[in-house]
């Protein structure tokens, strides 16, 4: 079944039932199959999305790499060969070797950089996940209100995002981090997320503005649904595609921003290792101990690259109308 005909069917069902097309599509299909006795596999929108995603090979490979890296990060305390503070006095400033046990080398104090990078990943993704959850929650909520109630809430949101664009994001972030106090992972995460929600708010607002005009919303209203029910049951599920894509890309952006903050010394404070901080530590001796800068940096590049590929695959899978002919 092609996308267009599927969409037509969904609206037809929705028009008849006057309810949310996303769920009706699936359940009515199932009912039909049952009545006619035709053995057709039930396919929901998510099944189609998963199939489209699986066709994007680079995204699938990236997802596998990400899962490996994230698991390694989360389980760092158990799987890291050394502790992040442990000194190996016999191996000061050792270059990266496969045989000696220090895969990423050691620093001036003999600390194993592979272990430190693992713990750094742990900190970075910890912060990035909190940032993403917060930014998505704030952005969705504000976008919903602006798109559904429109008028003044909408105006306020648009003017506010205009205003935020007049200041360099990094400068605002650094100022906030310097004056509001940095240090705890949660504080850093809250500060970063306060800057990242605006784009999603604009996206959700746009979706809501167009969804509001759909017939099934009128039907839901006529059936006596309240505003909240319409927003959460009927409109929000239809914006899940863009929201999931945005959440993925925010995760990557948050990892980058966190690395900037910790590199400049305004992020999570030592002794907790963060990827940006590891690079800053290696910087002073970088001309001869190149590995101290290279490996944490490559880790960031690999993580963000994979996240962006996964985001690309998700966009193709969940948001086929938004697809750029690429």
């Amino acid at each position: 079944m092609t996308e267009q005909s599927l969409e037509r069917d969904r609206t037809a069902f929705a028009g008849a039932a006057g309810a949310n097309p996303a769920e009706v599509g699936a359940s009515t299909d199932a009912a039909l199959v049952h009545e006619t006795g035709l053995e057709v596999e039930v396919r929901s929108q998510w099944t189609y999305a998963r199939r489209r995603f699986m066709r994007h090979r680079l995204a699938v490979v990236s997802l596998v790499i990400l899962i490996i890296i994230f698991t390694a990060g989360f389980t760092a305390p158990w799987i890291a060969p050394y502790s992040f503070e442990g000194y190996d006095i016999n191996n000061l400033e050792v270059g990266p070797t496969l045989s000696g046990g220090h895969v990423f080398g050691t620093d001036l104090l003999g600390r194993d950089y592979f272990s430190r990078v693992l713990f750094g990943i742990r900190t970075s993704i910890h912060v990035a996940f909190i940032v993403t959850i917060l930014a998505v929650a704030i952005g969705t909520a504000i976008g919903m209100v602006a798109g559904y109630y429109s008028r003044w809430a909408d105006n306020l949101l648009m003017r506010f995002t205009d205003l935020i664009l007049t200041l360099p994001a990094l400068a605002v972030l650094l100022t906030a981090a310097a004056f509001l106090g940095h240090g705890s992972q949660y504080r850093v995460a809250v500060i970063v997320s306060l800057l990242l929600w605006t784009l999603l708010a604009r996206i959700v607002r746009g979706q809501f503005l167009s969804l509001r005009e759909k017939e099934y919303i009128d039907a839901a209203k006529a059936a006596g649904s309240g505003d909240l029910r319409i927003m959460f049951r009927h409109m929000l599920p239809n914006c899940m595609g863009p929201i999931v894509v945005f959440a993925t890309l925010t995760l990557g952006g948050a990892i980058l921003l966190e690395s900037y903050l910790s590199y400049l010394g305004f992020g999570v404070q030592p002794p907790t290792p963060a990827l940006g901080k590891l690079i800053a530590d290696g910087q002073d001796v970088s001309s001869h101990d190149w590995w101290l800068v290279t490996f944490p940096g490559l880790t960031i590049v690999l993580i963000v690259l994979c996240i962006n590929f996964v985001g690309d695959g998700l966009r193709d899978a969940l948001d086929p109308t938004q697809r750029v002919r690429a």
Partner: protein, 324 residues
């Protein structure tokens, strides 16, 4: 056209005032600007009191805002806490340095990025296109500071190995830069690597955007008409497609200016350039709110001006934009 420009100008002014209020409340609400000074045992309670009086720190925030605006306008942002050198003297020194860095990066990356984007779109799915895509995905994923450090390491090690000095990786100029052309060459040798770092990031943005924009235009009816008229392929692309695809790039370039200044904060820090970014970080560490607010206002003004120029250019480039 004139009313359009005037109206944009007026709107910019409103945005500027709102931005100044945002900057002031954000920094002021964050905490006591003198908390660092209070920890200093060498500063007496009386001096602190006098300073607080002088800067009106005991008043409510809206009142302080009015005083601050007055000082900013009449006295060019006044002085920092406890240092009697005007903020403007420092800013006057660092702004041209950053402007040279940022403008050079913006121009070069626009030129190269747009060219890459056009060629990628024309030769869609070619080896070049895939290479450009890979490059820009890497550009998006790379932290600016890491790229800067890697280049610094590479250039330093090249020098250590072969003793050839083509580029410098620290400072704005040599101790004895000479005059005229020599001075210019010396400055270029110092700025080349920082500009390159900023360019890599920007080129990724511009080339992707230009490629998408051109691919969209290529499928429009008027391009098909131009082809049907029998125009050469080159004329169709350059005259009809590219010109229209360029229009949204103008807006992007203006919006991107803020990101470029953010990048300058990092590169100046790493390459020890005496520019605005370096000045900003220094004052963040000393926690002095007045230079920070002045800095944020200057960048806000710069970004607003760039957006204004973009809006006007948009009108010039796209005759369909109505001015009323």
């Amino acid at each position: 056209m004139l009313t359009y420009i005037l109206r944009r100008l007026l709107y910019s002014l409103v945005v500027l005032i709102a931005a100044s209020f945002l900057v002031f409340t954000m920094v002021s609400a964050a905490g006591d600007p003198m908390s660092e000074l209070r920890l200093n045992p060498l500063i007496s309670e009386e001096t602190l009191q006098r300073q607080a009086e002088e800067k009106h720190l005991n008043d409510p925030i809206p009142v302080r805002y009015v005083y601050w605006v007055k000082e900013a306008v009449t006295d060019k942002f006044g002085t920092p806490l406890f240092v009697n050198e005007p903020i403007w003297d420092d800013l006057k020194r660092v702004i041209p340095h950053t402007l040279a860095l940022v403008l050079a990066a913006e121009l070069i990356s626009l030129l190269i990025g747009v060219s890459i984007g056009i060629y990628s779109a024309i030769k869609q799915y070619s080896v070049f296109d895939y290479a450009a895509t890979t490059f820009s995905f890497l550009g998006f994923a790379m932290p600016v500071f890491w790229l800067a450090l890697m280049l610094q390491i590479a250039v330093t090690n090249l020098f250590l190995a072969w003793h050839v000095r083509i580029f410098y990786t620290s400072g704005l100029s040599s101790p004895d830069p000479g005059t005229g052309l020599h001075w210019l060459l010396d400055r270029a040798q110092h700025l080349a690597i920082p500009v390159l770092v900023l360019c890599v990031l920007n080129m990724a943005v511009y080339s992707r955007f230009m490629r998408a924009s051109l691919l969209e235009v290529v499928n429009t009816d008027y391009v098909r008409t131009a082809r049907a008229k029998g125009l050469t392929e080159q004329r169709v692309t350059m005259r009809h497609a590219v010109r229209n695809a360029l229009i949204p790039v103008v807006t992007l370039a203006a919006l991107n200016f803020g990101a470029l200044i953010g990048g300058a904060i990092i590169t100046e820090q790493i390459f020890q350039l005496d520019g605005m970014g370096n000045y900003f970080i220094q004052n963040l560490f000393s926690q002095d709110v007045y230079p920070i607010m002045a800095w944020l206002m200057i960048t806000a003004i710069a970004i607003i001006i760039f957006n204004l120029i973009a809006d006007i250019l948009y009108g010039v480039l796209d005759p369909r934009v109505r001015y009323d």
